[in-house]
Amino acid sequence: MLSSLCLVLLNALVISVAAGSDYHEQLLLRPLPQNTLLASFNFRSNESAAAFEQQNFRYFPRSFGQILQHAHAKELHLRFNVGRWDAENWGQRPRNGAREGGTGVELWAWVEADTEDEAFARWLTLTNALSGLFCASLNFIDATKTIRPVMTFAPEGQHANSSNLHLLHGTLPHEVVCTENLTPFLKLLPCKGKAGISSLLDGHKLFDASFQTMAIDVRPICGQGDASCFLEMEQTVDMVLDIARSKRPRDNPIPRPLPIDQLECDTSKLYNAHDTCYPLNKGTDPAWTLEEVFGKPLRGACPLTEQSGDEVNTVCINTPPERTVEVRTTGQFAESKLASDTVRCYKLPTGAHFDLVLPEQKMSTGLVRPDPQIFAARSINGHGQERGSTQSIIRNPSTTEAVEIVYLESLPWFMKPYLHTLRARVDTTYESPIKETYYRPAVDRKRGTHLELRMVIPPSSTLTLTYDFEKAILRYTEYPPDANRGFDVAPAVIRILSPQSGDNRGVYVRTTSLLLPLPTPDFSMPYNVIILTSTVMALGFGNIFNLLVRRFVGIDEAPALGAGGLKGMLLSKITRLRGLLGKA
């Protein structure tokens, strides 16, 4: 029985107090149930607004800064996401879901512009430029994938002139995030993955994680009262590693069955024998080291980070105090304990490798994992080529507090919801949970559906939201190469309005994306038709051409070439040649 210890909110550790131009990075490790490990990387670089305007970049990456200036983007949030957060086992999302996107790529930004059209033009500039920078298909975020959310997103930064700011939001649920996106991400960092915690980020392990999200957030922050503003860029990577899978060496990654002598058996079973083995569930925390799990050593501190003050602790691990954590390094490091010893933080040595070693250990205490405020799942119901329905189940586990949420759906135009079929039921009450609706219907091939609902879920209740939709038939050129896979529908974004979290980032939950099978023509049919038409054309053309170019002469008019054999053939060739030359 694990007794509960102190609760530490992950976001409490990420304190955003900074001024001027500086750079800070932090890694928080947190073992999760089922032998998994949550690693949260946070890189923050600040630049004063004045320096930014004059293109005087120090920690802020120049390539990125210039794009922002060119597109007049005042605040930007970019997300790359793979996998799912398992809320039931892992609890609350890292950073309350505020630094997390839906599957694929998600981008939203506040663009400064006088008119909506200008804002959209600048948005296209932004997506195209970012597409080049991050090797992602962000340029495919066109008008059909762009929405202007009303309630779901609020600016995190302080904007002086907020009247002409336009919020635009686009997602690419089918985009596969991989190493080509990680490399430009790392290049934006001052230490570029050569030193500091970013040296742990390796594509092989990052993209083998059960859940991983990369985020870039740029926002202006102004001090209270004074006019000195600075631009903060925060890069975060949250990943959940399966320890057993990550520890597999790169040269032998195949999970072959264990040798029989290494298999641990439950000997209490009556049938246990030399050839029969019920696998023993030892219930111990597995052994791991940073280098094993990340596949690369941690190459000391990034020399650009602050060397004094509150933020010198770069690597933190959140475990019960009884867990043995050994440090293996040749350099100078400092350890400090926070939050009733459940968080151990280390100041990294500069220029020397640093490693944490955790042996296998049977634990008697565990950490309390904060429960998420809501659980959400969304799925497509029904089958067939014509219509279907979507069902979202949102559960409020709290026994005391009602939860107020905003539910945002951004649907592609070829998925046409019938709003009159929208039903929101709460299992504990007959009262409608919908308080406010914002709906902007789709226009074929121009824009997608945008639906926002503000809803209240009473304590310990489950809300079921369903609506029917019709599947449009596309033109044959509009199908992607893998048409029979179906079309991805972007995850729904749920923002929790109340109870509020401590910071101004908001609390977000995203559902998984959906696969929408559309009626797909048999693409071999046009091919057959083309072949058939070509054949008919060729036959027709051949005959007519033949009639046109052939010269018909009476048999008696033809020169006496009747003699066959070689001589006849030669003679006929010569005659023909003569005829051709004579004509010319």
């Binding site: 893998d482 029979n484 998984t512 797909t520």
Partner: protein, 646 residues
């Protein structure tokens, strides 16, 4: 104009009117002969994998070594649960899945069919693909009890072991769902219905956890006990409910992996020994057709196919040298292939007849046979329609009685072409000079005069209402047995069947007698012809449409109905008796009974299964039997029976 009139003239040609029965017979003969030549090499093709992404058997399989030890342990665990109550069993299975860090849930279902309760629990676990986004999933099934009602001991243990083994891999691009339904048919139906939210919540519990769109399902059936049993071959079962079939690519992949990679032979349709001869191919095809035609669930995979989820069951048969690990490796390789899929299986055939595990006939080749059989009824219906518009008594030749009056030949021809009088024809009826001479009339068309027999220009009105009503009521009558057989108590179903069989055999005679006794003017010769005509027309239409959905059912019913297009009301008592006797033999109940005897089935079981199919699987076979076949049989039998009372 001349062409049209000569064609119209042809319509009256007696020789033409004699053709339809022969044409019908030709259609039937060619249709059946067509089926018989299908097994020949010239008409069938070797199977091949169309979908390049599948790459069957291209991966190394690693399911060996210590996994065998784990498998043996799970097999003992499963064996220990056989006599336990359902709830305890589910709980233990859930625990094992949970030890492997999978998401687990249980679904309860409770159907009441024919006053019998089918209640059990499905346990399922979801392995979330590490890089997957919950959009796609593939299903591995081991029903707790197989179709023969044996406990699927090794099959369930294999699924548990594979779940543990699969969990360690990072390469899954789709979620994998491990499903252990309580039984082979209703359990998987309840689960797949609930997965698509198409279930009735009174009987089936909703699913707590779901994943993405199902891309394929594979069921294993390996009932060997705790000490194992080596098997000889894999029996690949592929028939879905209502005769729907999985994509041929999935079947081919399974066969190719089993034979090519693992060296396990595969058989289909219970043809344990197939020597690749014409006879064996034909037998396999016919067995496949009967199974497809009946449309019943043949395994846990069957329920998935109506939802466009391709599925097969791998069943171990015989005594050989293959062990559970080779079955596990086959499943592993099959799942690696399915995992490669970028798109839903769509490349290969969905309509095919298999002759052996690596030979098939595609729809384009076999469909004409069912269509020809269906067309035979339409031809007969057309012939009857023409016949109904003709006079029954022969037209005497006026020329023989009045040789002096010579009709103008051109006008005569045009008259013969016209059954309906047009406005420019003036009728001038003449009283026949002598009673034995046929009545004649004088016609004037465009100034030309003609004297023709009255009989040849008289319009024969077709009284359509009563025949149409009678045919419709025959179809409506089919609803009665349809309702009764689907809702009667299971214990009384055989009794009901015998009663129904007796009633419907005597029913046409009774109807004919009643009509003849009470109102003989209703069932005139023309009305009877029209009844048969409408009934055959409908039958032909239904069967042609059905042939595109369930070819085998259309052929089976078409063949059983063939005599319906040839029986006619006769004045000869002997011919009537022979016809009635034949029809009595071919009435739906008798055919079912004889078929059951021949195939070695149990009638009571079949009736219960049919009712179960109607309520749980959404089986449509009985609709076709009672609302297509039965009305056609009744209508034609009434026509024949009315001949007795003349």
């Amino acid at each position: 104009m001349a062409l049209i009139s000569s064609i119209l003239a042809l319509r009256r040609d007696k020789r033409i009117l004699k053709i339809p029965p022969y044409l019908s017979a030709l259609c039937v003969i060619v249709g059946i002969a067509w089926l018989l030549v299908l097994p020949l090499n010239e008409y069938s093709r070797g199977t091949y994998v169309s979908e390049n992404a599948l790459l069957p058997g291209q991966v190394h399989t690693y399911f060996t070594g210590s996994e065998h030890n784990v498998f043996r342990a799970y097999r003992h665990e499963v064996h220990g649960l056989i006599d336990k109550p359902v709830a305890e069993r589910s709980q233990r299975l859930e625990t094992i899945f949970r030890e492997q860090n999978l998401k687990v849930a249980t679904q309860h279902y409770n159907y009441t069919v024919s006053n019998r309760t089918i209640a059990n629990e499905n346990v399922y676990a979801i392995l979330q693909g590490p890089r997957a986004d919950a959009t796609e999933a593939i299903v591995l099934i081991a029903a707790w009890k197989n179709m023969a009602d044996e406990v699927n001991n090794s099959g369930v243990a294999l699924v548990l072991t594979l779940a543990r083994y699969f969990k360690r891999w990072s390469l899954w691009s789709k979620d994998i769902i491990f499903l252990i339904p309580g039984d082979s048919t209703s359990g998987s139906q309840a689960w797949v219905d609930a997965y698509h939210d198409g279930h009735d919540q009174r009987y089936v519990e909703s699913l707590n956890i779901k994943s993405g769109a199902l891309q394929g399902a594979v069921a294993v059936d390996y009932p060997a006990g705790p000490w194992g049993q080596r098997y000889d071959k894999l029996h690949v079962v592929y028939d879905g409910v209502n005769g729907q079939l999985p994509n041929l690519d999935l079947f081919n992949t399974a066969v190719q992996i089993a034979s090519g990679q693992m060296g396990i032979g595969s058989v289909i349709q219970r043809m344990w020994h197939h020597d690749n001869s014409y006879k064996d191919r034909l037998q396999t095809m016919l067995r496949g057709m009967i199974s497809q035609g009946l449309g019943h669930a043949t395994g846990p995979h069957s329920s998935f196919i109506p939802y466009h989820v391709d599925a097969v069951t791998l069943q171990t048969v015989g005594d050989g040298w293959h062990d559970e690990m080779s079955l596990g490796k086959t499943v592993e390789s099959l799942f690696r292939s399915l995992n490669n899929l970028l798109e839903h299986l769509h490349q290969s055939f969905f309509f095919y007849l298999l002759l052996q595990s690596n030979r098939f006939v595609s729809i384009g080749t076999y469909l004409p046979s069912a269509m020809l059989i269906a067309i035979n009824f339409s031809i007969a219906a057309m012939a009857l329609w023409v016949k109904s518009g003709r006079r029954t008594e022969p037209i005497a030749n006026p020329a023989s009685t009045q040789p002096k009056s010579k009709p103008a030949s051109s006008a005569d021809k045009e008259d013969k072409g016209d059954t309906k009088p047009t406005h420019d024809i003036k009728h001038a009826k003449e009283k026949a000079p002598a009673p034995q001479q046929p009545a004649t009339e004088l016609l004037e068309i465009d100034g030309a005069l003609a004297i023709v027999p009255v009989a040849s220009t008289t319009v024969t009105e077709r009284a359509l209402l009563i025949p149409a009503l009678l045919v419709i009521s025959a179809h409506a009558l089919g609803l009665v047995p349809l309702y009764l057989f689907n809702n009667w108590d299971a214990d009384h179903l055989p009794g009901l069947f015998i009663t129904t069989a007796n009633i419907i055999t005597l029913f046409p005679i009774a109807v004919a007698f009643l009509f003849n006794y009470t109102s003989p003017h209703i069932l005139t010769l023309q009305a009877l012809t029209l009844i048969q005509c409408f009934s055959l027309l409908l039958l032909g239409m239904f069967l042609a449409a059905l042939a595109t959905l369930n070819f085998s059912l259309s052929v089976l019913i078409g063949v059983a109905c063939v005599p319906l297009s040839f029986v006619r009301r006769s004045t000869n008592m002997g011919i009537n008796a022979v016809q009635l006797g034949m029809l009595a033999l071919l009435n739906p109940c008798m055919v079912v009974q004889i078929g059951t005897k021949l195939l070695g089935g149990n009638l009571a079981e079949i009736l219960v299964t049919a009712a179960q199919g109607w309520h749980i699987w959404g089986l449509w076979t009985q609709v076709v039997v009672w609302l297509v076949w039965f009305p056609a049989w009744i209508a034609c039998s009434v026509v024949v029976a009315s001949g007795i009372f003349d």
